[in-house]
Amino acid sequence: MTVPADAEPIRVFLVDDHGLFRSGVRAELDRAVPDVTVVGEAGSVGEAVAAIRHLRPDVVLLDVHMPDGGGAEVLRQLRPELPEVVFLALSVSDAAEDVISVIRAGARGYVTKTISGRELADAVRRVRAGDAVFSPRLAGFVLDVFSDRPGAAPPGDPELDLLTRRERDVLRLLARGYAYKEIAGELFISVKTVETHVSSVLRKTQLSNRYELSRWASDRRLV
């Protein structure tokens, strides 16, 4: 699934209601990263849906907060129709319900807006290749949601409602700020295995009915 270095550039589409931020990201990606090109941008849900339908980009960088429904709304309208387009959420908000809502709506990852251009390009490449991207904070949320604190409801579906020990280890290291390669070295597993674990955690976060997850999701009418 990895893309060779000399392949065509990854076509990225930006969705954010702040024009200033869009031009900043565009400049950073265009300047610093040769294998990523920004093919278009939109400032509202309606514009974004129309333009993404037309342009079919590889990766959409999606703002969580927008006046007319936000990233989750874009995902809801486009996911069923364009399953091959990958969405990566990009936000200043660290509130759990925002992050979880875009992940549950189908985003392949979440990064904060303070991320550097180089790291952002890495994240884009990673989601393009089919992997998931977790910021340390998202890893923290997910660990917290799946933790077995006393008084927590028993898991309804163990397959989806519990993390394996290995997945937990990987998430902990992500939350500690480790890169995938460093996690692989730390746990004596391959980077590919780390990616598999993270993707599996993403799937559980999207599908599990753990109390908090379903509460956040139902707050946003996602389920």
Binding site: S44, V45, G46, E47, A50, D68, G69, E73, R76, Q77, S93, D94, A95, A96, E97, T114, P136, R137, A139, G140, F141, L143, D144, S147, R149, P150, G151, R172, A175, R176, G177, Y178, R221
Partner: protein, 427 residues
Amino acid sequence: MPVARTAPATPPLARRRSGRFVAGVAGGVADHLGVNVLWVRTAFVVLAAINWAGVLAYGLLWIFVRQEKVDVVRAPGRAERQQALGLAALGIGAGLAAAALGNSVIGPLGVAAVGAAVVWREADESQRRRWTSSARSGVTGAAAGGRSTVLRVLAGAVFVAVGIGVFLIANLQLGQVQFALLAVLATLLGVAVLTVPWWVRLMRDLGEERRERIVEAERAEIAAHLHDSVLQTLALIQRQPDQPREVLRLARGQERELRHWLYGPTGYGRSGSASGAPALDAGLADAITAAAAEVEDTYSLDVRPVVVGDRPLDDGLRALVLAAREAMVNAAKHAQVGEISVYVEVEPGEVHVFVRDRGVGFDPDAVPEDRHGLVDSVQGRVTRHGGAVRLRSTPGTGTEVHLSMPVDAPAAEPLGPESRTQKEATR
């Protein structure tokens, strides 16, 4: 471009404004329950045959359920129109037939009811005009109606008066005084019935005004907070554009404060206590976040703590927080990086803190004896309370300090003064 929002499972009960025949009650109920409007109408007709229950229910729903605010365009076909009118006639007929079999009280009151219906329908119309015109002009258009409205309202009033009058004359034999008294009562009753829509509207307007005032107060509070914090900081930043370090520090501090205000100490938005500064001794998450903020401010770099779980502070945890702070300071001073990762995890029997940087690193065995920042302030603090420190550092790749502190299970204890005083008492 309008956004096609997915509708909630059941729309709130509201009377239809378009595609209605009497007051849109049946249509509204059908929308709410998600069934065909024909079934609802039939149900009202059947109920109408039972002592006018259907008519009464219809009238009550008319009064208490408000019209939908948005004009949804519905174009009922001719067949449905005829069907609905037929059903309405059938309902009244069924009611009258049932009444004729019993006593004859219902007949004249039925006439009064029809009159009231005509007047209320006009009120619905004027309400609708008010909404559409207030969207345009704002003030005018409340009373605008025209001659046909006046005629219809008058006709309705006459119906009500005749109905009540016939009812009184037909059913009671009374003396002069009693008759006069009853006439006054009947007039009052008639006026009350006719003005129901205006009373209801008055009540609703009052409620709405109160709601708007509350929203306004909330907005004012947010504006005040933003003014005190964000605007002040922006002003400060504009005044010293030539000092990037100071600008960075201001921006970071402001971002952190706003985040705390919006999402609470851990950024999870769960604790809800978004008012003011973090309380001293509030909990582990608060304390770690405060320590990280302090280091961030002092050394002008990014410290982003990720906290999983929380518990009240005790002596051991306070020492742990201080040690973690010291580890952050060390990283800020020596690692030559712009970012430090801090991860805190509360487990049932133990609390772990990881402080990590991707800086220059060092060889732990080669630290000279006289430099005991890490040894004394970190190791000493933690081990005194039964905790442990593990240090890992490689020159070139960075340093990670792992602090752990045993705590009593269970961890999900509520934050309260009792737990703390108990700890101090056993000391």
